[in-house]
């Protein structure tokens, strides 16, 4: 490895994307991924700094310098093996992680130019492997211990994978008919193709994990009942309860929660209606309320389903949007309008109970609130009305409540999240939790990090218990 250092390249290698004009009419993936030449060129840009702050920025501590080195040497098989030591869902993370606030945030190269596009490198090696067929690592000898996992989102899948690798029998109970959590029901096809989620879930099954779909815990079995059959339980049931604003007219026809809209479009494939049986209605003038990933995804789906005009209405300003930077750029390229410092105050219906207009109020920013972002304050007298025929409420999701309601002795916060210690242990012996159900809505990688941590703690709990 004594190649001469190439001179500094400040600009990242651009990843090819579908043309914005064309992609507005289809659900195919927008970002096309690097070619072999491009991925090596991007890896070559790394300065190989000693501190490697990128690793610290990664919630699951992928050995990024090793990944980069192996890509430079075109040892892609070894590169993906390296990633998978820490991350069981790399094709997903490479696509949806907010790298700009994680591994890429403190990249040394980032101080002089673009940071190294770690996400795109990860995506490349994961896709490389998927195209050639997965390599299944050797499993440890069976410990004879059984762990039940509730929810097949990133938290549950990661915990199950790690436990299986350690020789425990892991059984995932998932309420929906497909594993993946938000990855399968929320994030759209054009950002994360479902065949990738399916392939990564299959890989986890190959590790020896059983995934039982159509199994809603709290209804089919309670946590307390699972404890009779399993040595430990991990709860990764996510934050899927949609929030509404509680303003007049929210239950009019044509008003959706983002979750309903996205479940129809993604999980139920309404974009392929009527071949796929589940319908979705999208009018001409769509307003999406909110400013996060969910709002962006809903708006971009609405556009692809034929809306003439899609507007994102957000009560704060651009700086406060809790969203992947790349996705705002993509949305704007596609022609989605962003309207800041505006909040709806009511929805107005026609005589058939359909939404026809919404009244909004202008906002200004005040002092920072608990989230550290400046608080939006309504400007009195600034109300105005605008015609809309479809509204999508993307103002947040709270924890799924069924398990908390049906589990005796489980400590829960007043926000409905499950209380855990630093290892993910709940108030019940042998029961662990992690992901959005503990933190409230967060990110894929933080849910995976929590799943990993809990798996480690469960392993310790099971191996010390006689």
């Amino acid at each position: 490895m004594s190649k001469p250092k190439p001179k500094i390249k400040k600009e990242a290698v651009v990843m090819p994307k579908q043309d914005p004009k064309e992609r507005g009419g289809n659900f195919d993936e927008v970002a096309l991924g690097y070619t072999e030449e491009q991925v090596v060129a991007e890896a070559e840009r790394c300065l190989e700094c000693v501190k490697a702050p990128c690793v610290e920025g990664c919630p699951v501590e992928v050995d990024i310098p090793a990944l980069i080195q192996l890509i430079r040497e075109r040892k892609f098989d070894e590169a993906i093996r390296k990633v998978k030591e820490k991350n069981s869902l790399p094709a997903i993370c490479g696509r949806v992680c907010p790298q700009e606030t994680q591994c890429q945030a403190s990249c040394t190269m980032g101080k002089v130019g673009d940071p190294i596009s770690v996400g795109r490198l990860e995506r490349f090696v994961a896709d490389w492997e998927r195209k050639r067929g997965y390599e299944v690592p050797q499993q440890s000898a069976s410990t004879g211990k059984r762990v039940a996992i509730v929810g097949a989102g990133p938290a549950g899948l990661t915990a199950a994978a790690d436990l299986a690798k350690l020789g425990h029998e892991a059984v995932i109970f998932e309420a929906l008919h497909k594993p993946g959590g938000v990855l399968i029901y929320g994030i759209p096809e054009f950002r994360l193709p479902k065949k990738i989620v399916e392939a990564e879930a299959e890989y986890i099954e190959k590790l020896g994990v059983t995934i039982k779909v159509n199994a809603m815990i709290g209804k089919l079995y309670t946590i307390n009942e699972l404890l009779e059959q399993f040595d430990a339980v991990f709860i990764g049931s996510g934050a899927g309860l949609p929030r509404f604003m509680r303003i007049p007219g929210e239950n009019l026809c044509g008003v959706y929660s983002a979750n309903e809209f996205l479940i129809r479009v993604n999980l139920m494939k309404a974009y392929d209606f009527p071949r796929a049986a589940t319908p979705v209605f999208v009018g001409e003038k769509v307003a999406v309320i909110g400013g996060g990933n969910t709002a962006m995804d809903s708006a971009r789906c609405a556009l692809r389903l034929g809306a003439k005009e899609v507007k994102i209405v957000y009560r704060r300003s651009r700086q406060e949007m809790p969203v992947r930077a790349e996705e705002v750029e993509n949305a704007e390229e596609e022609g989605i309008a962003l309207e800041f410092l505006t909040n709806p105050t009511k929805f107005i219906g026609n005589d058939r109970g359909w939404v026809k207009a919404m009244e909004c109020i202008k906002m200004r920013l005040g002092e920072p609130d608990a989230s550290g972002r400046r608080r939006p304050i309504p400007i009195e007298g600034s109300e105005f009305t605008r015609d809309v025929d479809t509204v999508i409420m993307a103002i947040g999701r709270t924890p799924n409540p069924i398990i908390q309601q049906t589990t005796k002795g489980l400590e829960v916060t007043k926000w409905g999240t499950i209380v855990v210690d630093e290892n993910g242990k709940t108030s019940i012996e042998g029961v662990y939790a992690g992901g959005d159900i503990v933190t409230g809505q967060a990110t894929v990688i933080s849910a995976m990090g929590a799943g990993k941590k809990a798996a480690k703690a469960i392993h310790q709990h099971l191996t010390k218990k006689k």
């Binding site: 008919h177 089919l220 069924i402």
Partner: protein, 275 residues
């Protein structure tokens, strides 16, 4: 995969299906529902459980063919399998010893009502049953209801059998002391009965079946206004206080996808060709 162990046509376009589903059978209580999907492209179809056989490990539902998906289900035969079956969902009906319970069922929902009626009967209540349908030829579960009701009345919209419409209920409510009313059926039936019982102050439970998608509280498609508050019928219900429900909103919301449903139906009838 879940096997259809029995399929029986009760009357034209209303079929009974018994599915092999041991785990669900062991947990299901009257008033709860399941969601099924026929195949990979299928919709999630919610259906209220009409009976369970814990020993045999089966659940029974009765389904009215009203559109694409229910028709597709109706075309399946004994021995066929469906891809997905999720349940039990929703809160169980509140069954207790209340005195005299009036149970009103309309159309296909008489079948799941019977599951509750049996439970009320076994809990030691006096049960007055009313079953109704559009016409005599569409009436189901009469014998089964007679078995568990102390009195049974029959009504049809067109008067081909029993009383014509529900007007007779006015008299009945005056004559009899009734402690609880339970209604399952079309929204108009639930609304009418709730209006009739309101002046008598009789607690009236209605079983709401708005459009649902996940059925587990994650989408809000099923939201209904009850007592001025938004509720999710799939997890907060499906049973609610009939005197508090905003039926107008419910009726409007249930028509939200009518144009698309018609399209899907035609698509199916034409053998799945692209429209």
């Amino acid at each position: 995969m879940y096997k259809i162990v029995t399929r029986r046509e009760l009357v034209p376009h209303i079929n009974l299906f018994e599915f092999s589903a041991k785990e669900i059978a062991a947990k299901t209580k009257p008033g709860q529902f399941v969601i099924l999907r026929i195949d990979e492209d299928g919709e999630r179809i919610p259906l209220t459980v009409a009976s369970v056989d814990v020993g045999k490990g089966t659940i029974t539902v009765v389904c009215h063919e009203v559109g694409k998906s229910t028709k597709q289900l109706g075309n399946l035969k004994q021995g066929d399998c469906i891809l997905d079956l999720l349940g039990p969902l929703g809160k169980p009906a509140e069954i207790g010893k209340l005195g005299t319970v009036l149970c009103v069922g309309g159309g296909v929902m008489v079948a799941p009502l019977h599951f509750q009626v049996r439970a009320f009967h076994e809990a030691g209540n006096k049960v007055i049953g009313i079953i109704g349908a559009k016409s005599e030829s569409q009436l189901i579960f009469e014998d089964e209801m007679r078995e568990v009701c102390d009195d049974l009345y029959v009504a049809t919209d067109d008067g081909t059998r029993g009383y014509k419409g529900l007007d007779f209920l006015k008299e009945l409510l005056k004559e009899r002391k009734i402690d609880r009313v339970v209604v399952m059926g079309p929204v108009v039936t639930m609304k009418t009965v709730s209006e009739l019982t309101r002046p008598h102050g009789i607690p009236t439970i209605v079983n709401l079946i708005p459009i649902m998608v996940d059925g587990m509280g994650m989408c809000g498609a099923c939201r209904v206004t009850v007592g001025g508050k938004t509720m999710f019928a799939c997890v907060d219900g499906p049973d609610f206080d009939g005197h508090q429900v905003d039926f107008e909103e419910l009726m409007a919301r249930m028509k939200m996808f009518t144009p698309q449903e018609k399209l899907a139906f035609v698509f199916q009838e034409e053998g799945g060709r692209r429209l």
